[in-house]
Symmetry: C2
Subunit: 225 residues, 2 copies
C-alpha cells in the first residue's frame, strides 16, 4: 500500500488517527476490522450533505427533482470517479483473492471507500469539517448541475427526444383515478408513434403519473435503440 | 390552527423564524409554499443522525443490522407515533378536502411533518442543535433497542419461531454460485416443514443469502398466519 500521507494529500484532509484512515481503506476481504460500518455512516452523511447543497442551490426545484439529482450525484458510478481522482485503488487494503481479481479497480469497492472516508472524517473532525470536505470534492459536479438541462423532468426529456427526431408529441390520457377523494391514485397512459403499445403509470397526482409514464417510455426507447 | 408556540413547547425547540415553522406545518394541499422540500432535507438528516447514534451505540453490530434497525426507527410508522406524541395533527395546515378526509390523522402526512420539522430546525439552528433535538425525541426508542432481542437477524428469528412451535429447524441449501471468483452471488434455498415449497434468495455471501432466504420465509409465514 502506498503511504497514507499520500491519501491525505489527495483528499485534502489530514487524519490525526492513522488507524481510522487505515480502517476506512480496508476492504472486508482483508480483515474483520474493515470499512463496512464506517461506510454505512458515510453514506448517510453524503446523502444529507448533498441534499442540503441541492436544497440551497435550487430554491425552485421540487423535492422529486431534488431527489433525482441527488441520486445521480451519490450514485456508485459518480463515487467511483471521485475515488479514481483520488487514486484510492492504490491505497486500498484488499484480500489476496480480491486483489488478484482487480478489486482495486472495482467500482463498488471504490465507491464504498469514498463513503468510508466521509464517515471517518466525520468521526474525527465533526460535521462542519466533513461537510466542507465533501462539498469541496463534489464542487465541480455541483457547479455543472443544471436542473433545467441535463436534469430535466421526464416529460420534457421525452418531448425533446421526439422533437429531435421529428416525431409527433406524446399523447397522455387519464386512464383511471382510484382511491378516496383526497388520497387518489391517478393512472395515466402515454402513447408515442415510435412504440406500438402505450405505457401506463400511476402517481399521487395526474402530473406525477404523467412524469412516471414518460420515464417508462424513455426507458422503453432506450431498450429499442 | 392551534398556536405555534404550543408546537415549540411540544417539540422542545423554539423557532425564531415563525415563517419557517409555518412552512414545516403546511401540507401541499394547503399551499404551493409547503413542507415538501424541507421534508426532503429533514429525511436525510434523520437518517444520518440515527445512523450515527446506532454506529456509536452498537460497536459490534455489522452494517446490515445497523441498516435494518435504522429502517425500523425512521419508518413512517415510528415517525407517525412521534407526531402523535407532539399532537402535530392539531397544528397542520391542510387543504379543505384533505382536512375533511382526516388528513391530520394520516400516518404519512404526520410522518412528513416530523421530517419537515427536523429540516426546519437544521436550517435555523444548525447541525448540533438539530441532532440534539432528534436524539431527544428518539431517546426512549433508542434506549429500548436491543439488537440481540427484537432486532435479531432473520435466521435467528426463524429458528426461534419454529422452536416455539416445536417444528424441525429450517434446512438451508446452497443452490448455486454465480459470477467471477471474487464477486460471486450465492443462491440459497430454505425449506421448512410449514411451507410446501422452499424459498430461494441470493446474496453476496452464503451467510447473506441465507439471511435473505430466512427473511422471505418469515414474510411467507406472516401471510399464512
Amino acid at each position: 500500500m502506498a503511504s497514507l500521507d499520500e491519501v491525505c494529500q489527495k483528499i485534502g484532509y489530514h487524519f490525526k488517527d492513522s488507524e481510522l484512515l487505515t480502517m476506512a481503506m480496508t476492504h472486508r476481504s482483508f480483515s474483520a476490522v474493515n470499512n463496512e460500518r464506517v461506510e454505512f455512516l458515510g453514506d448517510s452523511l453524503l446523502n444529507m450533505i448533498i441534499a442540503e447543497a441541492l436544497y440551497l442551490r435550487f430554491p425552485d426545484v421540487d423535492e422529486g427533482d431534488l431527489s433525482r439529482i441527488r441520486a445521480l450525484l451519490v450514485s456508485g458510478k459518480t463515487l467511483a470517479t471521485v475515488a479514481v481522482e483520488f487514486e484510492l485503488g492504490r491505497f486500498l487494503r484488499l484480500g489476496a483473492g480480491e486483489k488478484n481479481s482487480g478489486g482495486q479497480r472495482r467500482a463498488s469497492t471504490l465507491a464504498d471507500a469514498v463513503e468510508a472516508l466521509i464517515g471517518a472524517i466525520y468521526l474525527e473532525a465533526g460535521f462542519e469539517v466533513c461537510r466542507e470536505r465533501v462539498l469541496a470534492w463534489f464542487a465541480p459536479r455541483l457547479v455543472s448541475l443544471n436542473p433545467d438541462a441535463s436534469h430535466k423532468d421526464p416529460k420534457t426529456r421525452l418531448q425533446e427526444f421526439l422533437q429531435g427526431r421529428k416525431q409527433p408529441l406524446p399523447d397522455y390520457q387519464l386512464v383511471e383515478t382510484a382511491g378516496a377523494d383526497h388520497q387518489q391514485t391517478f393512472i395515466v397512459s402515454c402513447s408515442i408513434s415510435l412504440l406500438k403499445s402505450s405505457v401506463s403509470a400511476s402517481g399521487s397526482s395526474r402530473r406525477k403519473a404523467e412524469q412516471a409514464a414518460a420515464e417508462k417510455v424513455l426507458l422503453a426507447l432506450k431498450e429499442i435503440e
